[in-house]
Symmetry: D2
Subunit: 295 residues, 4 copies
């Protein structure tokens, strides 16, 4: 069987290294993005720059989109000169952007009318995971399309899981972002409480980390909390976008998320107070402000 020709739309912080990993794995990749220097970088890595979506997707077997948010995905896929206008029936469209589950479902429905198969396949693991090809990939759509895309996914990540029908990948990503935000906020509340109570913070976090209170957040973000180092990392602006997706998706299925609702408000407040460009561990700054301990 021939290696599929890949069109890649969206070569940002995540998309560029991901496309390059495909190239390294032997896939012919034709890529498009709005930033010229990213096209040059793609060419340097062995890919083929395309001047438009149309040029990128024409003749492709698989189209991957990796874009900032729902409006960009809808424009690129559904637009007059977009992906669906130029792909042949039988093409597989894999949207790896993080968008609302209902957006994924709507794309799949629109694509079905043109004989195009769709998977939603958002990722977690951040820029480092993208560069090293160790992302977690959560996939929604038909099982046979998931199987077909297996080799491609394995060039990008180490944990690749089929989660259910169209939108299921996005739903799992949303749940992931919910749990991460709550865990960060929980640690931030604990840190401020411990400091205000005059406790030896590093010692206390060591105990917490070793027991039932332990978490990957506590382990990976401990340094950020202790050093007040909030260089991103995953920016609060992006987590704010994701909490919007969580809130709407939970509302749509009638799932109560009392902590999720509160955290969504706290993330929004962090952004409103000017911390949108910082790493999400900077939720600590919001707790400090509420506690009168702002630096």
């Amino acid at each position: 069987m021939q290696t599929p020709r890949v069109a890649w739309i969206g070569l940002g912080v995540m998309g560029s290294p991901m496309a390059e990993n495909l190239i390294k794995a032997g896939y012919p990749v034709r890529g498009h993005t709005l930033e010229p220097e990213k096209l040059e970088r793609l060419a340097a890595a062995g890919g083929t720059p395309a001047a438009s979506v149309a040029e990128a997707v024409r003749g492709a077997d698989v189209v991957v989109t990796m874009l900032p948010a729902d409006p960009q995905v809808e424009a690129v896929v559904l637009g007059d000169d977009g992906v669906l206008a130029h792909t042949a029936p039988g093409t597989l469209l894999i949207d790896m952007s993080t968008v609302a589950p209902r957006t994924s479902a709507a794309l799949a429905e629109a694509a079905a009318g043109r004989g195009v198969r769709v998977l939603d396949a958002p990722v977690s693991g951040g820029e480092a995971g993208a560069v090293e090809g160790v992302l977690s990939i959560m996939v929604g759509g038909a099982r046979e399309d998931f199987d077909r895309a297996g080799p491609l996914f394995r060039a990008l990540g180490t944990t690749v899981v089929h989660c259910g029908p169209h939108g299921a990948g996005q739903t799992v990503k949303a749940a992931n972002q919910l749990v991460v935000a709550v865990n960060i906020q929980a640690c931030a509340e604990a840190v401020v409480f411990l400091e205000k109570a005059g406790v030896d913070l590093p010692a206390a976090l060591e105990v917490l980390g070793g027991g039932l209170a332990g978490s990957t957040v506590l382990e990976r973000k401990k340094h950020n909390f202790l050093a007040r180092d909030f260089a991103p990392g995953f920016r609060i602006d992006l987590h704010h976008k994701d909490m919007g997706i969580v809130t709407e998706a939970a509302r749509a299925v009638g799932a109560a998320i009392p902590l999720g609702g509160v955290v969504a408000g706290l993330v929004a407040a962090a952004r409103a107070q000017g911390d949108g460009g910082l790493d999400h561990s900077a939720l600590l700054r919001g707790v400090e402000r509420l506690s009168g301990a702002a630096t």
Copy 2:
């Protein structure tokens, strides 16, 4: 240096195996509790049953208390016929109960007037940790008293950390319980959201556990969530008591705990709705009720 004689007050689910671990480590232990069968168990393990607090503590070098809550600790230590009424100056009193930081500070102050040294040393790790001697022990009080108690603590636990002055151990325990409750609730919200959205739950939890959303709670309680198995474990009634301590202690030091406040309410509601005797992972049942998905 001679092995210190230990008086142990409180031989419940935690206290009994802890006292037995001291006996195994070579300490002479005289114990008191209100349940006769626990006194017999102590004798069978090689300890000496005492008919009263007075009888237990007379002649002891170290007194350990392991009691349900603040009122019991205050009664046993400060009561007319209590620990302080019968201990000699120079005795070390180690309160391993989980109580409010201010209760620990008050005990230390009362004891200082009689020349008795005090450590607060609450534990985490549950009944299994107590039996196996692998508890985490969070200690508040003077460094030299902590050092003096080191061998004894190491007979009971594997992580033993000095956290700061009187009450600091309780503060860290409170922070621990805050983070644990929030993490359980976060997982419960994710579970109900994922199920209502029609996602493959075991697959989804596998992805979450492998990334930034991973936590010890998710790992250890995944089975409880998936099987709706809520046999305790750590009962909601006890976590409710602890959330009372967290709420008051955070308020006392002026630390904002927005998630902590919401979780305290949800734990209280779980108890009000009859789930007090279940494992704290049963917070899932509250989320299901709020989502109209109660079984």
Copy 3:
């Protein structure tokens, strides 16, 4: 000046009596709705039934829409055979539905391209207010259009206020629904707390109502709380829709609404638990459930 010819789209619980009040005030009204018996009722009141949106709006000077939610308004106004497709330049379109502020702004923008002026004019006061012509009307749009519609508004309501540009009427309605939901929930929490504490509830509510805790909610809904009479009234399903608008609108402008967020979750939970068809004072039932006091 001639009395303007009015097209009225949407003759539901609110729309029917409102259209009839216009007829009584001397306006020629041609109305359309999907329910035949409502068209007969309109005819009986002196109006002219129309078989389609197109038939209703052709030749009208003013078009009023009073529809359930955003999708219906968008379909009726922007649809291929909708209001804008059939109205002449210079027509005034007044949308009295409760929709998102951004929907109102989008309608105004679409209409401007066709020379049609738009006002958003949601109301409060319920069915009784609609029947008696004593609604509060919150209006967004150009001041001159507001002035032009003044006589018509005064046939429908007693408080008619220009609140700002397009969408401002919806924004004020959203704020209204936020405050109402929070006030109902506050009273519900007080009621359950007072009852569980064994207090004489009618006496207590009398004191509360007479002081700074007094509110229109407490006054008008006291009977519902005391008698557990939750016949609508304003249904929780509708308040749920409105809380969705509030949540999104506050997020869009970066306004923190901590209580609004919690109440939105509680309203959603009430609906998920089967209370969607009850009056919004039935938020009391949710508090009772959380308190283990459900009947």
Copy 4:
């Protein structure tokens, strides 16, 4: 029947004008407080200054306490040289301070042992209400004691209600403070939302005030919101104390107060951020901070 001799303990902002209203009504009042100038003021009004609690209460038929918080009340009533040590059996002790319901119940129990009757009778209405004698008085205790104190209460307030057994007055006061805090916060959220959305705020508040969103808080505090005038009034520090009582009392009876819990946190945060000395309408400042709109 002879006019009862009154001992009044606590002559602060509220206590002084209340005691003077009793004097005006013909009661002989012997008063004690720790501030000499307040004793002089009492003498100038026709009362009798007392140098100690003992001197004030000796020979009194009725003892009124009006003190800042639970510790002061406990010290004054239960202390070695306190009220109960010096009152004769049959005396009526009326505690008009705002304290926890359980404190009132404990006082009543202690007093019963000495044949002293007790009423808890906290007030609302503020300094103005105290001066003008138009307070609302919420009373807990035996009906016959309430009846006996009726004339005295009517010299102080216009709404005087018997709410139930010992502590019931405090419970109603707690519910009052819960509803007031939530209403203030609701208005504050609406104000910031409306302003950020670019709406005409005075017009909007006029509409809200006229409908189901109307409340005494909106009416009386509208000026504070519009002018950002936060001169007290009722200070956030005091409302913080009261929210502590609400939180504990609701927890004690197992009543869920989801909004109450969130508001308690927001009041605490306002205090932690330095607004404790401002009027409680300054909760608006907290919403502004969370919205990035702080001045």
